[in-house]
Each structure stands twice: as C-alpha cells, then as structure tokens.
C-alpha cells in the first residue's frame, strides 16, 4: 500500500481530487481512494449500516434540515463572523482574515457537528447518546446539543484531559451530561474513543455514538465533514463579499481534522486557494513527543478507519504529546490522508512553544483569546506569511481559549520564572 501511494501518478492524483469534489468519495465502501473504510467489530456493522441509511434520510428530510438551519442560526449563532485581523495583517505583512468559530455557542466549531448529530440521533429514535471528548469542547457541545434536543448523554473523557481541561468538565455537568473518567490506555482522547466504542458495542440498537471528529468507521468521517462544511461555505461567501475574491491560502489546525475538513472541503474546487493543515509538533519531532500524524505516520487502522497513524514497528499505537488536548490524537481523518497523498493540502507541524507564542500575539493585537488548538493554525499561517509576503490568508479560528486557562497559567508562570 505504501508503494502504491508513493508511486501515484499525477493523473491518479487529479482523478482522486475530481471524485472528492464531485461527491463520489466516500465510495460505496466508505473509502477516499485507499483510505477510510469501516473496520468495526461485527456487533457494530449493522448499526453502522443503519446509521448510513439514517444520514441519507436525514439529509433528504427538508423539514428537518430547515429546522437544523434555524437552530444553527438562533441557538448556535451562525453565521459566525469573518474578522479582518488588522493587527496581525500589519505585523505579518499580509492580509489576514479569521473565521470566528470561537464565537459559536459553547465556544468552538464542535457545536456544528454535535447539534447535527443530536438531530440525527433523535430522528433515528436513539434512547441515549454517548460521546468521547479530548479538550472537552466536543463534550460540552454534545452536552449542550443533547440538552437542547432532549436526549440523555454520557461523555467519556481521559483522566489526563479531565485534569488539564477542568473548566469544561464542570460545564458538561452543569449541562446535564454524565462524565465518565477513562483511566485505561493513555487516558487521553484515544482511550476515551476506545471506551465510547465499548459502550456502544453493549447497546448498538438504542445508543447513538456522537463522534466528535472526522475519524472513525464509515460513515462518520463523511457525516462530520458534511456537518462541519458550514464553516468553509460561510467563510468562502463572506470573504468574497468582503474583498471581492478568494484567499490565497486557507489555514486550519488538524487533530482528527474536523474543523480543517469543514474549512477546506467547500473550497477544494477553488484551485487558486492553497491549503495548509497544521498538526501539533509538541515538544519536537521524536516519536511520542508530538501528534504530527500526517508528517510522521504511516497507513494503519485505528478506531475503525484506514488512515495515517502513529504506530511502532509492532503495530502498537503510539502515545502522543501536545500542549493542546484537542490535537493530542495519533490518527487523522481519512479524507486528510487522501488530501495529503494527492498534494491538494500541505500539512506542517508547529511546536507547543511556537503555538503559545502565536496565542499571545493574537491576544495582544486582536483582542481575541484563541484556543491553543487554533493557535497552531495562527502560528502556521505566520510562518507561511514570512515566505509569502502580501498574500490574503484565511485562518480557521476553531475555538476560544477560555478552557485553556489552567494550561496557560502554568506555561505563563514557567515563562515568567525563566525571564
């Protein structure tokens, strides 16, 4: 498989992109070229087929879609603003625009997916929702969406993440969700997904698994892309309205890749728009020190999908590191794996320190506290701007940084002590 990927011809790459744009991917087997598929335990095979059928009915249900659009407007607060970043533009020598998912209800893009899937769960007659969460943003969004549509919800969260995202745990409780700490495995997002799957396996008929990123077995990567594409669709129209043209580049951070796919997917056909995905470079390039799956990974299977993955010579999934819980994941969505393979999107990584520096710059010169995840995109865009002066840059500001205060206080005090 590796050789096939390396030897892919230009014509093959163009054909994969055409199929992606034309909606021919995922194909009937849930694949994006070689990536994707559905590597799920037999107990879930029927539930996943039922989910896929349910998505088609959900998307074709005009009344329900109209209701979802109303809720996105009146309850989530969409469309979110597109902000001209005057301070950053001046400092970077570029024309910088921020797509403000931090302004969406609950503080990040996660709500777009959570609300859509909660609607779907209701339509499918699910009795309860389970979800995993890393940074806690998906957990909070799921808790809020479930409260809004009226369905009980349980959120699995790694014990390590519970500690570093404490404010979000309290928010989930206040919103009526049950939060279950996961101590198995690495006690972060990956272990939380394992545990959510186990819970779903125990009751596939009445439980709806509300997966938070563009990963997992088919049809999840597709469902999440469809629900998050509101980001790119809005941003594209807003920037055209603001300046009469498209950006030279769109930049987003990538963990599992849901906000990035939401920003990128609606602009894949705009061949003049370059795209840059920024992964978490953590402490550095060594295995275990980062979560830069696309930069350092190889094709493998985790959580039901064949995609790029960080694992050792024996096939064991590697522990990852990032200062941002939301990017701390050893896999990535299969559509991103294809976009990298065909060269439509470039993926780079940004280390913890550089991301935190970009966060401070955004606070100081824009009056916006971005999430540490989103700060990776800011830092990546800043580096790109150095090489490409005077360009128009669209950055997906995926969430706000309020939830990161415990981490920021810790890092700031380290820094102050060093100075």
């Amino acid at each position: 498989m590796n050789e096939t990927l390396v030897n892919m011809s230009d014509a093959d790459r163009a054909e994969h992109l055409r199929k992606l744009i034309a909606g021919e991917y995922p194909d009937k087997r849930g694949r994006y070229g070689p990536f994707g598929g559905s590597y799920a335990p037999e107990t879930l095979v029927t539930a996943l087929k039922r989910l896929e059928q349910g998505i088609h009915e959900f998307l074709a249900d005009d009344e329900l879609q109209a209701e979802l659009r109303r809720e996105l407007k009146d309850w989530v607060g969409r469309p979110t603003a597109l902000t001209h970043a005057r301070g950053l533009s001046k400092r970077w020598g570029a024309d910088v625009w921020l797509k403000r998912e931090d302004l969406a209800h609950t503080g990040a893009h996660k709500i777009n997916n959570a609300l859509g899937q909660a609607f779907l769960a209701k339509k499918l007659g699910a009795k309860r929702v389970v979800a995993e969460t890393g940074a806690g943003q998906h957990g909070v969004a799921t808790a809020a969406a479930c409260a809004r549509v009226g369905i009980p919800c349980t959120v699995y969260m790694g014990a390590v993440d519970i500690e570093r995202q404490a404010p979000n745990v309290d928010r989930m409780y206040q919103l009526g969700a049950k939060v279950v700490p996961v101590t198995s495995g690495d006690a972060t997002l990956r272990a939380a997904i394992d545990e959510a799957f186990r819970n779903w396996v125990a009751d596939p008929a009445e439980t709806f698994y509300l997966l938070g990123s563009a990963v997992g077995p088919h049809p999840y990567p597709w469902l999440v892309q469809v629900l998050q594409s509101v980001i790119g669709t809005e941003a594209r129209a807003q920037i055209i309205e603001a300046v009469g043209g498209l950006p030279d580049i769109a930049v987003a951070c990538v963990g599992g890749g849901s906000n990035a796919i939401g920003l990128f997917h609606p602009m894949l056909a705009d061949s003049g728009v370059e795209m840059l995905g920024i992964e978490a470079g953590g402490r550095g390039p060594d295995l275990g020190d980062n979560s830069a799956t696309l930069a350092a990974g190889k094709p493998g299977v985790l959580h039901g999908t064949y995609s790029m993955l960080l694992y050792d010579a024996d096939g064991q999934i590697q522990e990852t590191h990032s200062v941002s819980a939301g990017l701390d994941y050893p896999g990535v969505g299969p559509e991103h794996a294809l976009l990298k393979t065909i060269g439509r999107v470039t993926y780079q990584s940004i280390t913890d320190d550089v991301a935190l520096d970009a966060l401070r710059e955004c606070c100081a010169f824009e009056g916006i506290l971005p999430a540490i995840e989103s700060s990776h995109a800011l830092a990546g865009a800043r580096e790109w701007a150095k090489e490409n002066p005077g360009k128009r840059i669209l950055i997906g500001l995926s969430g706000r940084g309020d939830k990161d205060m415990p981490t920021l206080s810790k890092h700031m005090s380290f820094r102050d002590a060093a100075e």
């Binding site: 087997r29 598929g37 559905s38 590597y39 799920a40 335990p41 037999e42 107990t43 879930l44 095979v45 029927t46 539930a47 198995s184 495995g185 990956r190 272990a191 997904i193 394992d194 799957f197 186990r198 396996v201 125990a202 009751d203 596939p204 008929a205 094709p299 493998g300 299977v301 985790l302 959580h303 039901g304 993955l309 694992y311 050792d312 010579a313 024996d314 096939g315 064991q316 999934i317």
Partner: protein, 254 residues
C-alpha cells in the same frame, strides 16, 4: 488437509467423543512473558483448540480483563514477532488460532505473516476489527497457506448476514453470546439458546460460543446448542490470581 480444517477436525473429535469442545484463550506472555509456552502447554491439556491473543494497545472490543492483560504483555515487550518465534520453537500440536486486532498484522506484512504463522503451527486467525467486507487482502495472503479466517457473528447480526458469515467462516464460527465486549457478567441472556440454534442451523463447520463464559453450568447449557465454548477473561483471571488453570478448565467440562 488445509490448516483451517485441523481446527474443525479437532472440534469435531470432541463432538464425536460426546464432549463440548473447549477453546481456551490467553493473552500471549501474560502474566509473565517467559512463561508463555508453559502456560500455553497447560491449557492445551484440556483445550481442543487454543486461542492466543496478540496484545494490542487499543483493544476496543475487549473488556477490562483483556485490556489489562494486553497492556501488561506490551509492557513486557510481547510482540507478534516474538509470539510467532516462541510458537515455532515449541512442540505444541494443538491447533492454534491467533487473535489479533488488524494493525499489528498490517505492521507485520500479510504475506510474511501467513508464511511465518503457518510454519509456527498457527491454523487460523480471529481479527475482531476486521469485518468480512474489509478482509479481502488478508484472506488472499492467508489462503496461500491454507490458514483460516474465523468469522464472528453476534446477536445483533441480522439473519441473512449471519447465514453469509456462517458460509464463509473457516475453522469454526465464533458465535458471540452477548451484545457487548469480552469478559461480561455472570448471566447469559435466555434468548442465547435460540440464537445459537439459528447459527448452528446455518453453519456446516463447528460453532463455538464465546464472551462471558465462566461457569460449568454455562458450558453445559451452551454445549447443548454449540459445538464448543471459548473461555478467555475468566481463565485469565484464574491465571493472574495464581490458581491452577488446567484444573479450572477441566472443571468447566463438568
């Protein structure tokens, strides 16, 4: 005889002898890496077929016991390479089925895996995160050596799919008794009997019932509707508490 037919033959022999076939499962190298072959030899005394678990970092279809044993084995440096080397150097002649999640098999390389496993006395594979629709590449490699790919069916599997899986399974049909992960509670749902009868009706190879099997009474009950039982988490719990594994297995058959 193809390697996977050795599995079926061993279970058929138990049936002919009027016994319930016994398929004990252990995680390789648990609790002590160096005692892998010793523990395996012990359980082979009563096992008609033995299932050897390859530890994986993210065993999403397994309950806490197998999560714990997998984690411990990985910590001790147990790898698929090592397991195959150990099996190849042993003189075990009970048919062996390797249970592994897909990624360790991918990392090993399917062709090399099939060749090495066949030489080491492995007769088949169980891959809990590989549904039939995704199994083409692995099957192609296993077929070259006559190695079987055991299919799992569950109470959530619709009957037309269950019929298809019974037809294509090799070695035996793995009938999961509960909707859930391995190592579940002490009671079997009453409808398990009807479900096993349906599986048995569609299968032309032996049917083994697994997940949550702990007591002799369960073995006796399941044995009336299946050709064999798989005992994993309960056995691992005996082994880790230092009890006599062979005596436990022997006791299960009543």
């Amino acid at each position: 005889m193809q390697l996977h037919q050795k599995i079926s033959a061993a279970l058929n022999m138990a049936t002919t002898a009027g016994r319930v076939g016994l398929v004990p499962f252990i995680t390789a190298g648990y609790p002590v890496k160096d005692e892998f072959i010793k523990v395996l030899s012990e359980i082979c005394k009563d096992g008609d077929v033995v299932e050897v678990g390859v530890p994986f970092s993210d065993p999403m279809a397994d309950g806490i016991t197998i999560q714990r044993s997998s984690h411990s084995a990985i910590e001790q440096g147990v790898t698929l390479n090592w397991i195959i080397e150990q099996l190849a150097a042993s003189d075990i002649d009970t048919p062996i089925v390797l249970m592994s999640y897909l990624n360790p098999l991918l990392a090993y390389g399917y062709e090399a895996l099939a060749a090495d496993a066949a030489k080491a006395g492995v007769c088949g594979f169980i891959v809990p995160d590989l549904p039939w629709e995704e199994s083409e590449h692995l099957r192609a490699a296993l077929d070259t050596q006559g190695l079987g790919l055991v299919q799992l069916v569950t109470p959530a599997t619709p009957e037309d799919r269950l019929e298809m899986l019974c037809k294509v399974s090799q070695g035996f049909v793995y009938a999961v008794t509960v909707t859930g992960v391995t190592g579940g509670g002490h009671s079997m749902p009453p409808e398990v009997v009807d479900y096993l009868d349906v599986v048995k009706h569609h299968a032309s190879i032996p049917v083994c019932a697994g997940f949550g099997v702990r007591e002799p009474s369960q073995v006796a009950m399941l044995g009336k509707h299946a050709d064999g039982v798989i005992v994993g988490s309960a056995l691992l719990e005996k082994i880790e508490s230092g009890e006599d594994a062979a005596a436990f297995l022997h006791g299960l058959q009543g």
